[in-house]
Symmetry: C2
């Protein structure tokens, strides 16, 4: 695919590689040296070696053919560097540098656009963080790793118009232990847009879920809808649209200079194109993580199983708001549940295993209810504050994956809970910290299934 | 006050203190021995010492006057034990034991009610976790501390009908480093209700904010409203009502046997009584922590200051949804901001200090904008992924407290961010992990101010 060179280049030229620790051009070079397997060519007029690497004065001086160039020099020098890349035949370029249309300098951005017009060279940026690819270690995120963590390998890919939203995402996911595939902060989108990237990720084998933070659509609305409609048939696209309010639209225009249209029009278009809209920053991740780990339901019949009645009630309220159904277990199923559960447990929906539940009680309940085929999705609430519920419940929930039904676990608390939650997530179970967020994620899965089957 | 003996007893009798590690009556005894300063009298027919303490066969055998009795024995033995407490003149009793009306055993609960009727003895429970008081170390939460953390001292007090919601709260707050005053899980409320507890906490010097998890009102609705209206004039009461949906109401009745009325009627009554309603489990804490640390605004003019444009846009969208105003800085203020900030920063509202902002830039901006008196509340977004923003911003935000304006910080990410956030919270700044949650908390402060002044 044409964009593959961005993510799996054989070599990279870093135009603006710096001799000074802490400078952007130094951090980028160092990131590549940390993990990237291909050749690295630092470019700087001062050709003293950096980190032991030979420095070239210009991309044109590199003896080899160059796959990817990363430009991180002051804005005014960018057109010349870009022209050199075109002359050298570099097909993909990431311009990190800011100082273009986002501060009103439209002329300079237009100049860059003209330079690549009619050539084979394609550009991500300017005014962006660029790319982080967990497989190839292409990493142009110029934030040091002790401040901005890099997630390990996973199958969620992120496309973010905003660099800060993107980097906060990366750092947070790394902390949570959630892996990602590709990350792209595309900034001003002088050439490659959100639509191009979504189209590319739609074909990308390493991407199962596409998550998008959007301020405005840089491509034509029509093409955006067309591409998304096509891609969303194959992979879920989760989108967080910022600037849906009147004041928010104004804020967008001071931020990325995008024109943000009416929120309702966006939401309508998203729905048509099969996009799953997240309403908040947290939902973007909640949904992405849930889609990445769970199969789709084949209906809206949700079963809630809990060891705390109150959490069950809160989840029930949210399920009703979200339009999910909570059917009672059939007579036959209730009878079977009576055989395996203590008298004082509640065999409705939610099933309340009560505060002395252990892993075995969860296992028996889950097996019976899955076998019954009376439910399309499962919300399992495990409050680990009670000492009867131990690590073995992690295994029993993980074992449920073989039934290929969506399962979201709701669990929250202190150190022990956190440890169990990380273990569940490492085993490919979606874990969310509140009953409401867990139900919303399950409802998003259901919405997507409905789109695909209607 | 009549309930003081629950929270500051001189001594305690633990009826059902157990010789077996892991048993509820053992854990409760141990918790008291860990921190409680008064005398402790374990009660058990088997009078072998427990944990080196002399054991009495009956509360009537205790030589001293008894302030508080905690009953944790099988349900069928509770009436007799309670009668002994009445005979002994014990004025406050916590019945931990379950097995009463929550499983349909209304008769046994009625029997207990008759035993205390017309006496001086008052009861919390049955079927509850009871009390945790961070000052006196009264602690009847029978969950081991390695599973359910106990928060340190603070001025939020919690009243929870559900034990599991309550214990998850405690564990989560302990993890977050948020202190609390008193915690009461009141269960079936055979005698003392949510209304009694709210009334008591309204007078309690150690309580600044009252947070309530409610499934149904056990007292008369009229008295609940009357008491809340009186208390909410003095202290904010934040309430999460579970069972507002049709299905949720049914779930409540299988859980605490409460009758949950229509959600809309509840919300209307809460509003009249000046209660601040939380819509989700997370909001209950977000609001409680914000009210506990922040003064009220005196209007709805919010200023957003950010180092990441995207987060500023998301906060703007939420502010518009919440009905808060985001006035532009006046001409004079913009001029002053131009003098102190780099050209490329955005001097609207949000003020975008951009990704290279340092603490000094925040300090100058906050000082100028506070001085201007053009804003009633401040949302400060600090994304610590950028290396320019260091620990010193913690001091500069903390210093803002002297101006006595509500300030909420939005910050999220990995280890470094978490460290800074904990430091900010320890300094009495409210920190929330998403722009939407931060704005909602500020909006709750504004709602309460409006209630008080209208």
């Amino acid at each position: 695919m044409p964009f593959d060179k961005f993510f799996r280049p054989k070599n990279v030229a870093i135009i603006g590689a710096s001799h000074s620790e802490g400078k952007i051009g130094y951090i980028i070079l160092k990131s590549f040296m940390d993990g990237f397997k291909g050749d690295i060519y630092p470019i700087n007029p001062n050709t003293e070696p950096i980190l032991g690497k030979r420095v070239y004065p210009n991309v044109l001086d590199i003896p080899d053919k160059v796959d990817l160039a990363v430009i991180s020099i002051p804005a005014k020098g960018v057109p010349e560097a870009l022209a050199d890349c075109v002359e050298k035949g570099v097909e993909v370029v990431i311009i990190i540098s800011g100082g273009f249309s986002e501060i009103g300098n439209k002329h300079l951005e237009e100049e860059c656009r003209k330079i690549i017009s009619g050539t084979k060279t394609r550009v991500i940026g300017p005014n962006c963080l660029g790319i982080y690819d967990s497989s190839s270690s292409v990493d142009t995120i110029f934030l040091p790793k002790e401040r901005c963590g890099r997630p390990g390998k996973g199958d969620i890919s992120f496309v973010s118009q905003s660099g800060a939203v993107g980097s906060t995402m990366l750092d947070w996911l790394a902390e949570q232990g959630t892996g990602i595939g590709k990350f792209i902060s595309y900034g001003n989108a002088m050439d490659i847009t959100e639509t191009d990237l979504i189209e590319y990720l739609g074909e990308d084998r390493d991407t199962r879920v596409i998550a998008v933070y959007l301020e405005g659509i840089k491509d034509s609305g029509k093409r955006f809808i067309e591409v998304c409609r096509r891609v969303s048939r194959k992979k879920p696209i989760i989108v967080l649209k910022a600037g849906k309010s009147e004041k928010g639209k104004k804020a967008v225009s001071s931020h990325t200079g995008s024109l943000a249209g009416s929120g309702n029009i966006y939401s309508g278009a998203f729905k048509q194109a099969g996009l799953i809209e997240a309403e908040t920053w947290e939902e973007l991740f909640d949904f992405a993580r849930t889609f990445s780990s769970q199969p789709l339901p084949r209906g809206k019949r949700l079963l809630i199983v809990t060891d705390g009645g109150g959490f069950g009630v809160l989840a029930t309220d949210e399920a009703e708001r979200a339009g999910l159904e909570l059917p009672e277990p059939s007579k036959e199923l209730k009878k079977r549940l009576k055989d395996i559960l203590p008298d004082y447990t509640v065999k409705n929906n939610p099933i309340d295993l009560t505060g002395d539940a252990d892993a075995e009680r969860y296992r028996l309940t889950l097996e019976e209810t899955v076998k019954s085929k009376e439910f399309d999705a499962f919300l399992i609430i495990t409050l680990f504050q009670v000492p009867t519920l131990g690590e073995d419940v992690v295994d029993c929930i993980t074992a449920m994956k073989k039934h290929n039904r969506p399962i979201v676990v709701c669990s929250t608390g202190g150190e022990f809970s956190e440890r169990m939650n990380k273990r569940l997530m490492a085993n490919g179970v979606a874990v969310l910290p509140s009953p409401e967020r867990a139900v919303k994620a399950l409802s998003a899965l259901h919405r997507y299934w409905k789109y695909l089957t209607s």
